[in-house]
Amino acid sequence: MSTPNVRTSQAAQQPSGAAFIFKKALISALVALVLFSLMIGVRTEAGNQGGLIYWTRFDDLAAMVAAVFGGSIVVELLRQWLGPVDKEKLVPPVVRSATALAGRWIAPALLIFTFLVPVIFYDQRYILDLAILVLTYVMLGWGLNVVVGLAGLLDLGYVAFYAVGAYSYALLATNFGLSFWVCLPLAGILAAFWGVLLGFPVLRLRGDYLAIVTLAFGEIIRLVIINWQSLTGGPNGVSGIPRPTFFGIPLDNSDDGLAAKLGIEFSPTHRVVFLFYLILAMALLTNWVTIRLRRLPIGRAWEALREDEVACRALGINTTTTKLTAFATGAMFGGFAGAFFATRQGFISPESFTFQESALVLAIVVLGGMGSQLGVALAALAMIGGFELFRGLDQYRMLVFGIAMVLLMIWRPRGLIGHRAPTVFLEKSQAISSDLVKEGHG
C-alpha cells in the first residue's frame, strides 16, 4: 500500500478540520486558565510582618494561556502531519540501512571517544568532572539494569546500595585505614549482602507492591545512616575519606607521588584523569559482566522471569535464587559505584543518597530502553549531560528538561533503544542439514 492511501484512510477516520483543531485548542486553553489562574495569576509572598501579601499577574496569565492555545494548535497540526504516533510507519530501505549502520558503529565510536575524553579535554576541568559524573551514572544505570531491565523487578530504592557501598568504603578506610583496592570488593560484597537481605522479604511481590517496599528500603537505609550517629556521623557525614592511590602510589605533590616517581611535573588534573579511567574501567567491567551473564543460564533465567514467572516455574527454574542473584548482582555494582563516589568526593553525607538519586537512575534505565546496555549509556549521557547543557536556561531548566523527557517518551515509548538483542545464536543450527527439516524420522 502506498503512503498517500494510508494518509487518506486515516484522514477519513480522524476529524481534522479547522473547527476541530480550534475546539481542541480552546479546551486546552480553558484548562490552562483554570490551572494557572492560581499558580501564575496570583502571586503570594510572606510580608515583612509575617503576614501574607499577594498581587495579581494577569498579563503573565494571559501570555501563558495564549501560549497553550497556540501550542495546542501546533501540536495538533504536527500530529496530523506526522500521523498517529502508535502506528508503525514504512521506513524507506535507504534510511533503514543507514540507521542499521549507525546502530552498529555508535557503540564502538562512543567507546573510543570516551577513551579519548581526557586527552581532548585535558585543560577543561569542568568537562572532565562532568564526564566522571556521567560515567558514574552509566555504571549505576547498568547495575540497576540487571534488576529492572533484565529481571523485571521494579526497584525504587537502588540508592540504598549506592549508599551502602559509599559508607562501607568511607568507614573502612577512615577507621581501619584500608586502601581503596581492598575496600572496593568489600563494598561490593556488603552491598550484595544487603541486596539479598532486601530480596528475601520481597520474593513474592511484583510490580507496584515491590516498588513500594524497595522505596521504603531506600528510605530506611538513609534514615539509619542519619540516626546511627556513633557509626556514620549522622547528618554530618564522613569526611577525610582517603583518595584512591595508583596501586599504592599516591597521586599527590609529595616525593612518593606518582608524578615525582615518573619524573614529570605534578598537576591536580592527574588525579582527575585517573578517576576518570577508574570509573570508566569499573563501568566497562559492569557492562562486560552483564553481557556475559546474559549469555549464561542465569541471565537467561532473569529475562525469562521478567517475561513470565509462571512459565519459569513450570520449567523448573528456581525463582527464589534467580531473584536473589539479580538483586545481589545489581546491588553489588551499586556498591562499587558508591565506593567510587566516596573516594572521589572525599566526603559523604546522607544528603547524597535521597530518593531523587533512585528516581534518576531508574529514569536512565527506562529512558534507555529496559535491558539495553547501549541505551542506558546514551540515556545517562542525555540525562546528566543534557541537564548540564540546559544550565544556561536558569529557572526554565527543569521545564525544558521535563518537556524533552515527555516528548521522548511519546516518540520512543520503549526507550531510546527498545529492541532486545537475542543472546543465543545457534551457529550449529546452520550445520543441521535439510534432511532433518523434513518431517518424520527422529
Binding site: 543460564p297 537467561r300 533465567a301 529475562e303 525469562a304 521478567r306 517475561e307 513470565d308 509462571v310 512459565a311 519459569c312 516455574r313 513450570a314 520449567l315 523448573g316 527454574i317 528456581n318 525463582t319 532486545r420 537475542p422 543472546t423 543465543v424 545464536f425 545457534l426 550449529k428 543450527s429 543441521i432 532433518l436 527439516v437 523434513k438 518431517e439 518424520g440 524420522h441 527422529g442
Partner: protein, 250 residues
C-alpha cells in the same frame, strides 16, 4: 510396589490427592495412574480441577493430603524447581512462551533448569526441529511474533528440551484452528510412538484427546468420576452428552 496390581510399575501414581486454593477445595481425593509409554487424557469441564492437578504434581499449590509417586519415589513434598530435574516437563495452560525472547532462547530455557549436557541440548534441539520444522524456520524470531499454533509448538518444544520422561500438556489445542490442533496431536502421537514418551494430556477437546489417548480419566468437581480406555470413554453416552455433543467448547 505393594499397591500395584498390574505387572508394570506406574511411572506416575497419584493416590487420594487433595489440593485447595485457600478454602476452596479444587481436588477432593484424586487417584490416577500413568504407566510408562502411555498417553493418558484427563478430560473435564471448566473448573473441574484438571489444571490444578497438573500444577499440584509440580508442587504449586502443595497437596493437602494424598501422595504423588514418580517412578516409585514420593515427590509430594519435593520443591517445584527440583521436580523438573526428575525429568517431568510441563507445557502450561495458555502456552506461556517468553514473548520477547527468541525461539532459540525459549528452547534453551527448557533445558536450563535441568542438568543437560551440551550434547543433550543439541540432540534435544534436533528432535524438536524434526518434530516441528516450522520452529527451525523461525529460530531467530521473537516468541511473541509467532502464530498461536507456532507458539504451542514452541511451548511443547521447550518442554521437550529437558528430555522428559513424563510430558504433561495443559490444553494444547486451546484456541487453535482444527487443522493446527491436529498437527499438534499428531506430533504428540509421534513422540509417544517413536520415543516411547509418556504423556499426560489435559483437554477440553475430549474427542481429539480420547482418540489420541490409550486411557482416559474424566474429572468432575475435583473428583475422578470415570476411567477407561480412550475408545471406551468415547462410546459412553454420558461422555458424548457432556463433552462431545451438548458441551462443545469454542
Amino acid at each position: 510396589m505393594s499397591a500395584a496390581s498390574t505387572s508394570t510399575t506406574p511411572l506416575l501414581a497419584i493416590r487420594g490427592l487433595r489440593a485447595a486454593y485457600g478454602k476452596i477445595e479444587a481436588l477432593k481425593g484424586v487417584d490416577i495412574e500413568i504407566n510408562p509409554g502411555e498417553i493418558v487424557a484427563l478430560i473435564g469441564a471448566n473448573g473441574a480441577g484438571k489444571s490444578t492437578l497438573m500444577m499440584t504434581i509440580f508442587g504449586k499449590p502443595r497437596a493437602r493430603a494424598g501422595q504423588i509417586e514418580f517412578d516409585g519415589r514420593d515427590i509430594t513434598g519435593v520443591a517445584t524447581h527440583d521436580i523438573a530435574r526428575l525429568r517431568i516437563a510441563q507445557s502450561p495452560e495458555g502456552r506461556r512462551i517468553f514473548p520477547r525472547m527468541s525461539v532459540a532462547e525459549n528452547l534453551q530455557m527448557g533445558a536450563d533448569a535441568t542438568d543437560c549436557s551440551e550434547a543433550e541440548r543439541a540432540s534435544g534441539l534436533e528432535r524438536v526441529f524434526t518434530l516441528f520444522p516450522r520452529l527451525k524456520e523461525r529460530i531467530a524470531q521473537r516468541g511473541g511474533t509467532l502464530s498461536g499454533g507456532e507458539q504451542q509448538m514452541l511451548a511443547i518444544g521447550r518442554a521437550l528440551m529437558s528430555r522428559p520422561r513424563l510430558l504433561m500438556l495443559d490444553e494444547p489445542s486451546l484456541g487453535l484452528a482444527p487443522l493446527i490442533a491436529r498437527q499438534i496431536f499428531d506430533a504428540i502421537r509421534t513422540l509417544n510412538r517413536q520415543d516411547g514418551l509418556t504423556v499426560l494430556i489435559v483437554e477440553q477437546n475430549a474427542n481429539h484427546a480420547l482418540k489420541l489417548a490409550h486411557r482416559g480419566y474424566v474429572m468432575v468437581n475435583g473428583l475422578i468420576t470415570l476411567t477407561g480406555t480412550g475408545k471406551e470413554l468415547l462410546q459412553r453416552p454420558e461422555i458424548r452428552a457432556a463433552y462431545l455433543e451438548g458441551g462443545r467448547h469454542g
